[in-house]
């Protein structure tokens, strides 16, 4: 890991030490973020699955009703019945922030308040099966919207968790060990330099004394 060139200077050492502190702190924070995101995500995912099964069941039932309705009417009559819907749905969207992930919140508005406006046709040329079919679909609609909200939240949170997990791992297994290694390298190098200076000084002192007093000749 020490293949990265680090200058063995005191300035570099201070820089690395600061980096290590930041990285350790960041690592702890991101780990906490990941854990909390995960906790919330698992609850949400369970809810998502439950709701999805419920909605799929509802749509399946509605589809069966529509098939029956279609069987009892001519295609032209059916198309004509569905041609001009009275009801119109629009969405208001706000966002909610969960652990720095923006997730959408939907609130739907219907154009008319009358709940019978989903039957956009006269009753003379349509079968009662069609009414049932439309009704069964309208019943599942609120859940469908809720599903959209939760499923999107799940997708967004899953992406965020993945990103956070990568960051945590990068800090834990790459950045922090590399910085520690760098610090160790510089400390060793500086210590070594100091020792060699010390030895050099002692040697020079010896030489100077020798020159002046000629110790070796006296013995």
């Amino acid at each position: 890991m020490a293949n990265k060139v680090t200058n063995p200077t005191r300035m570099e050492l201070t820089r690395l030490k600061k980096k290590l502190v930041t990285a350790t702190r960041g690592h702890k924070l991101l780990k906490d973020k990941r854990d909390e995101l995960m906790r919330q995500f698992l609850d949400l995912a369970r809810e998502n699955m439950e709701l999805r099964l419920k909605v799929e069941e509802g749509i399946k039932a509605a589809n069966t009703n529509f098939v029956i309705a279609k069987a009892g009417m001519s295609e032209q009559a059916l198309n004509a019945a569905m041609m001009a819907p009275k009801q119109e749905v629009s969405l208001e969207m706000s966002t909610k922030n969960i652990m720095s992930v923006d997730i959408p919140q939907f609130d739907f508005k219907q154009k008319t308040a009358d709940e019978n406006d989903i039957y956009s046709y006269g009753f003379a040329f349509t079968t009662g099966d069609l009414d049932d079919a439309v009704h069964s679909l309208s019943e599942v609609f609120t859940d469908m919207l809720k599903l959209a909200e939760i499923e999107k939240a799940c997708q967004l949170m899953a992406a965020e968790i993945e990103r956070t997990r990568r960051r945590v791992n990068a800090l834990e297994y790459v950045i922090i060990p590399e910085t520690q290694e760098g610090i160790r390298y510089i400390t060793m190098k500086l210590d070594e330099n100091e020792r060699s200076t010390q030895v050099r000084l002692m040697k020079v002192k010896d030489m100077m004394l020798e020159e002046k007093y000629h110790y070796s000749e006296r013995n």
Partner: protein, 106 residues
């Protein structure tokens, strides 16, 4: 103000028309992709797509996975449930956790 769109074969989705959603019947997945792109660029916050077409459109759908809008939700069509929607939820769990720890046994 946002809208809700439904993409799929006509038989599976015409009922949503009565509820007041915008319905976009398509005949092929490539046509569906174009409609989806168009909806994503305009004011659609939620798009429901029948599973049958969604399977062939995963590339485009995945592109919008991490965007705030549109929320693309798979629904079973008239020909039945392919299980693709449930698979999508499992995929999220797998992405987040690393493996599917919640629903692996059902």
């Amino acid at each position: 103000m946002y809208n809700i769109g439904v993409i799929g074969d006509y038989d599976s989705i015409y009922g949503f028309q009565a509820l007041g959603l915008s319905v976009f019947p398509v005949k092929s997945a490539s046509e569906g992709e174009q409609v989806l792109k168009h909806l994503a660029e305009s004011n659609y916050a939620v798009v429901y797509i029948t599973e049958k077409f969604a399977v062939q459109m995963t590339k485009v759908i995945d592109k919008y996975r991490e965007a705030l809008t549109p929320a693309i939700i798979l629904i079973p069509g008239v020909s039945g449930n392919t299980g693709e929607g449930v698979l999508g939820v499992k995929k999220s769990v797998e992405q987040a956790v690393g493996s599917d720890i919640l629903f692996s046994n059902n």
